[in-house]
C-alpha cells in the first residue's frame, strides 16, 4: 500500500480506536428505578444514611427544579433530554462495608489500573515506605478519591492527610462526620436555586469529594478525584466542596472518563470552592469524557457548574482546565472576587474534534476593592466541531481598582469547524481596568509543510503546532498532569487533518 493511502486508512480507523478509555467494567450494581420523583430523592438520601436536614435540602432543590426550564442560550444543539429516562443512582454492589482497598471489587480496581490511576497504594496506606528503586523518588504523592458511577470507592492517603489536619473524603461521609462544615458551606457558592442543572444536582447528587484545609496549613500533597461513569443510561451527578481556611493552600486535580456508548449520557456536576482570608485554591481538570463516535453518535452531555468564592481578603482561586472530551460541554468555572485584593485566574484549553460542541468560558465577578483576574483561553476546533468561548467580566459599583486581563485565542484545523468568542464586559465604576485580546487563526499549510519537510508526519506536525499554541496554559498544570494533558491533546487531534 502506498504510504499516503496507508495514512488515510490509519486516520479512518482512529475515530473508533482513539478513545482509549472506552471499555466497560462488568460488575453488579445497584440502581434506583429510572426517572426522578420525591421518592427517588428520598431513596438516594436514605442509601447514604443522611441526616434529616440533608434530605430536606435535597427536597427543596427538587421542588425548585420542577419549576425551572433548561437554559437554551448556549451555542450547542441537541435533542431534548428526557429526564425521566435516566437512572439517578447506580452504585457498585458492595459485598459489605468497605474499610480498605482489599475489599473493593477487584474489577473496579482493574478499571482504575487500566486508566492508569494509582489506587493500589496499599503499602502507602499502611505507612510502609516503598523499597529503594521501586518508585521514582522525584514523583510527588497524590491522594486519590475515586468515584465510580455515583459512589466514591476509594480514597488514598487518608491517614497522612489527617496528620496535617486536612479532611479529604467522599462528601457522603463528610455529611455524616462533619455536618457543621457541610451545612455551613454547601450551597453557599452555588445556591440550590442557581440554575437548572445545578438545582438538579442539588436534589440527586450521590457523591463527590469533600476537602477542608485548616487555617495556615499547606496541604502536603496534590489531591485528586477520578470520575468514571460505567453504567448505561446513568447520569452522574457529583458534588465537590473544597474549603481553604485562612492562610491555607491546596491544589486539587480532577480527571474524568467513561465507556464508549451509543446513547448520550448526562453528567451534571457542581463544584464549590471557598477561599477565606489569604487562602489559595488551585483547581485543575483534565476532562476526557467519551466524545461520541465519528458520526457524532453517543458521548457525554457535560453540563457543569463550577464556581469559586474568594470570600476572604487576599485570597486566590485559580482554575485550569484541559477539555478534550464530551459530546457537549457547557461549563463556566467562575470566580466571585468578594474579598479585597483577592484574585481569580482561568486558564483553559478546549479542544473539539468530530461533532463535539463546546460552549465554555468563565465569569470573573469583581465585588471587592483592588481585585484582579486573568483569563487565558485557548480554543482549538477541528473536524466538524463548534467551539465557543463565552466569558463575563464584571466590576461592581464598589469594586474600585478592579483589573482584568483576558486573552482568547482560537485555532482552526480544517474548514468545516467553527470557533466563536462571546465576551461580556461590564464595568460599573470608572476605576476598573479591563483588557481584552482575541485572535483566531488557522494552522497554515506552510507551517505544516515546514515541519513535514523536517521529517514529522502530518499528525506529529499538527500535534507540535497545537502544543505550542497551548503552551501558556499547559505550564499552569501540575507537572504530572501536564505530561498527560500533552499526550491527550495529540490523541484528541488524531485524524483531524488529511
Amino acid at each position: 500500500m502506498p504510504a499516503v493511502q496507508e495514512t488515510v486508512e490509519r486516520v479512518k480507523r482512529i475515530d473508533v480506536d482513539q478513545y482509549r478509555y472506552g471499555f466497560e467494567t462488568l460488575i453488579d450494581s445497584e440502581k434506583a428505578p429510572k426517572g426522578l420523583s420525591e421518592e427517588i430523592v428520598k431513596f438516594i438520601s436514605q442509601k447514604k444514611n443522611e441526616p434529616a436536614w440533608m434530605l430536606q435540602w435535597r427536597l427543596e432543590a427538587y421542588r425548585r427544579w420542577l419549576t425551572m426550564t433548561e437554559p437554551t442560550w448556549a451555542r450547542v444543539e441537541y435533542p431534548k433530554i428526557d429526564f425521566q429516562d435516566i437512572y439517578y443512582y447506580a452504585a457498585p454492589k458492595p459485598k459489605k462495608t468497605v474499610t480498605s482497598l482489599d475489599e473493593i471489587d477487584p474489577e473496579i480496581l482493574k478499571t482504575y489500573e487500566k486508566l492508569g490511576i494509582p489506587l493500589r497504594e496499599v503499602a502507602m496506606l499502611e505507612g510502609v515506605e516503598p523499597k529503594v528503586g521501586e518508585e521514582d523518588p522525584a514523583r510527588r504523592k497524590i491522594a486519590v478519591d475515586a468515584v465510580f458511577d455515583s459512589v466514591s470507592v476509594a480514597t488514598t492517603f487518608k491517614a497522612e492527610l489527617k496528620k496535617a489536619g486536612v479532611i479529604f473524603m467522599p462528601i457522603s461521609e463528610a455529611i455524616r462526620e462533619h455536618p457543621e462544615l457541610v451545612q455551613k458551606y454547601l450551597g453557599s457558592v452555588v445556591p440550590t436555586s442557581d440554575n437548572f442543572y445545578a438545582t438538579l444536582n442539588s436534589a440527586v447528587f450521590s457523591d463527590g469529594s469533600f476537602v477542608y484545609v485548616p487555617p495556615g496549613v499547606r496541604c502536603p500533597m496534590e489531591l485528586s478525584t477520578y470520575f468514571r461513569i460505567n453504567e448505561r443510561n446513568t447520569g452522574q451527578f457529583e458534588r465537590t466542596l473544597i474549603i481553604a481556611d485562612k492562610g491555607s493552600y491546596v491544589s486539587y486535580l480532577e480527571g474524568c472518563t467513561a465507556p464508549q456508548r451509543d446513547e448520550n449520557q448526562l453528567h451534571a456536576a457542581v463544584v464549590e470552592l471557598v477561599a477565606l482570608d489569604d487562602a489559595e485554591i488551585k483547581y485543575s481538570t483534565v476532562q476526557n469524557w467519551y466524545p461520541g463516535n465519528s458520526e457524532g453518535k453517543g458521548g457525554i452531555y457535560n453540563f457543569v457548574t463550577k464556581r469559586g468564592d474568594c470570600r476572604g481578603a487576599n485570597s486566590k482561586i485559580s482554575w485550569t482546565q484541559v477539555e478534550t472530551g464530551s459530546a457537549i460541554t457547557w461549563k463556566y468555572p467562575s470566580c466571585i472576587l468578594r474579598g479585597d485584593n483577592s484574585s481569580g485566574e482561568f486558564y483553559s484549553i478546549a479542544i473539539s474534534n468530530g461533532f463535539q460542541q463546546v460552549d465554555s468560558g468563565t465569569k470573573m465577578i469583581h465585588l471587592g476593592k483592588n481585585t484582579s483576574s486573568r483569563i487565558i483561553s485557548k480554543g482549538i476546533a477541528a473536524g466538524k466541531s463548534q467551539n465557543t468561548y463565552r466569558g463575563l467580566v464584571t466590576a461592581h459599583r464598589k469594586a474600585t481598582g478592579a483589573r482584568n486581563f483576558t486573552a482568547c485565542d482560537s485555532l482552526l484545523i480544517g474548514d468545516k469547524c467553527g470557533a466563536h468568542t462571546v465576551p461580556y464586559i461590564e464595568a460599573k465604576n470608572s476605576s476598573a481596568t479591563f483588557e481584552h485580546e482575541a485572535t483566531t487563526s488557522k494552522i497554515s499549510e506552510d507551517v505544516l509543510f515546514y515541519c513535514i519537510q523536517r521529517g514529522l508526519s502530518q499528525e506529529e506536525a499538527v500535534g507540535l503546532v497545537v502544543n505550542g499554541f497551548v503552551k501558556d496554559v499547559l505550564q499552569q498544570l501540575p507537572m504530572e498532569f501536564a505530561v498527560e494533558a500533552q499526550k491527550l491533546i495529540s490523541i484528541s487531534l488524531e485524524g483531524s487533518v488529511g
Binding site: A3, Q453, R454
Partner: protein, 250 residues
C-alpha cells in the same frame, strides 16, 4: 554516482503547466546553481522535489539514490536525506527551537530504523553544531523563528542542515532578505557543510550569492525548462547580459 535524477519532468499547478519537461542530474559532492528570472519555475522544482502538496506531476520522474522519489511521502523523503532550506522559514510560536530540532531529528532517525537520541546526547550534539556555526544558545530556547531576524532565520536553516546531515540540500533563494554580512555568515555555514558525499542545489535569482557559495555547475532556467548549462563562468556572463537573451531559447 548520480544522487538526483530529474527526467523530463512536467508539473502543473491548477491546470497550468509550470515545468514543461525539465531534466537535471546531480552527482554526489557537486554543487549546482539554478538561476533564472521570476516565474521560470525554480521554486516549483524545489517544492516538487521536497513533496509540497498542490503540485501535479503529469509526466517524467525523479530518482533519488536510484529510488522513485515521487512515490514517497514528504517526511519519508526528509528521512532519506532530502533537505529544503526555505526561502521564507515559518514561525512556530510556543515551540522552542530545541524541542523542534529534537522532535524532527528523532522522527527522521526513527523512520530510518535508528535509535532515537537521548536528551544528553542530543544536547551535546546541538551544542557542538551550533558552536561551529556561531549560533548563540539563547536562540535555541526561543520559539522556532519567532522574532528572529532574517539572518537568524537563515542560520537556523543551516543549523538544521548541519544537524540532520542530509545528502541533498536544496537552498531556495537563500539570499533573499539578507544584507551582505548576514549573507556571508549563512554562506560560510553552507560551505562548511560541503562534502564528497553531499550535493547541493542552490536556487537563486542573483549572481551575488554565488560569490560566496561557488558552484561546480550553473543551469539557467526559463519558462519551465533548463535552457543552458555551464560552469561558474556562466553566472558571471548572466550578471553582465541579463536573462532576456534566453527568453527566445525557451
Amino acid at each position: 554516482m548520480a544522487l538526483l535524477e530529474v527526467k523530463d519532468l512536467k508539473v502543473r499547478v491548477e491546470e497550468r503547466e509550470i515545468l514543461h519537461g525539465l531534466t537535471l542530474t546531480v552527482n554526489e559532492g557537486e554543487v549546482h546553481a539554478i538561476m533564472g528570472p521570476n516565474g521560470s519555475g525554480k521554486s516549483t522544482l524545489s517544492h516538487v522535489i521536497a513533496g509540497k502538496p498542490g503540485y501535479e506531476v503529469t509526466d517524467g520522474q525523479i530518482l533519488f539514490k536510484g529510488e522513485d522519489l515521487l512515490e514517497m511521502d514528504p517526511e519519508e523523503r526528509a528521512a532519506k536525506g532530502v533537505f529544503l532550506a526555505f526561502q521564507y522559514p515559518v514561525e512556530i510560536p510556543g515551540v522552542a527551537t530545541m524541542t523542534f530540532l529534537r522532535t524532527a531529528l528523532n522522527a527522521q532517525r526513527k523512520a530510518r530504523g535508528e535509535s532515537e537520541y537521548s536528551t544528553p546526547d542530543f544536547l551535546k550534539k546541538v551544542r557542538e553544531v551550533s558552536k561551529s556555526l556561531n549560533i548563540p544558545q539563547d536562540m535555541l530556547k526561543r520559539g522556532v523563528n519567532v522574532g528572529f531576524s532574517g539572518g537568524e532565520k537563515k542560520r537556523n536553516e543551516v543549523l538544521q542542515m548541519a544537524l540532520f546531515e542530509p545528502s541533498l540540500c536544496i537552498l531556495d533563494e537563500m539570499d533573499s532578505g539578507l544584507d551582505i554580512d548576514a549573507l556571508r555568515i549563512a554562506a560560510d555555514g553552507v560551505n562548511a557543510l560541503r562534502s564528497p558525499g553531499r550535493a547541493m542545489v542552490v536556487i537563486t535569482h542573483y549572481q551575488r550569492l554565488l560569490n560566496y557559495i561557488v558552484p561546480d555547475f550553473v543551469h539557467v532556467m526559463s519558462k519551465g525548462r533548463v535552457v543552458k548549462s555551464g560552469d561558474k563562468e556562466l553566472a558571471l556572463e548572466l550578471e553582465a547580459s541579463g536573462y532576456t537573451q534566453f527568453e527566445d531559447a525557451a
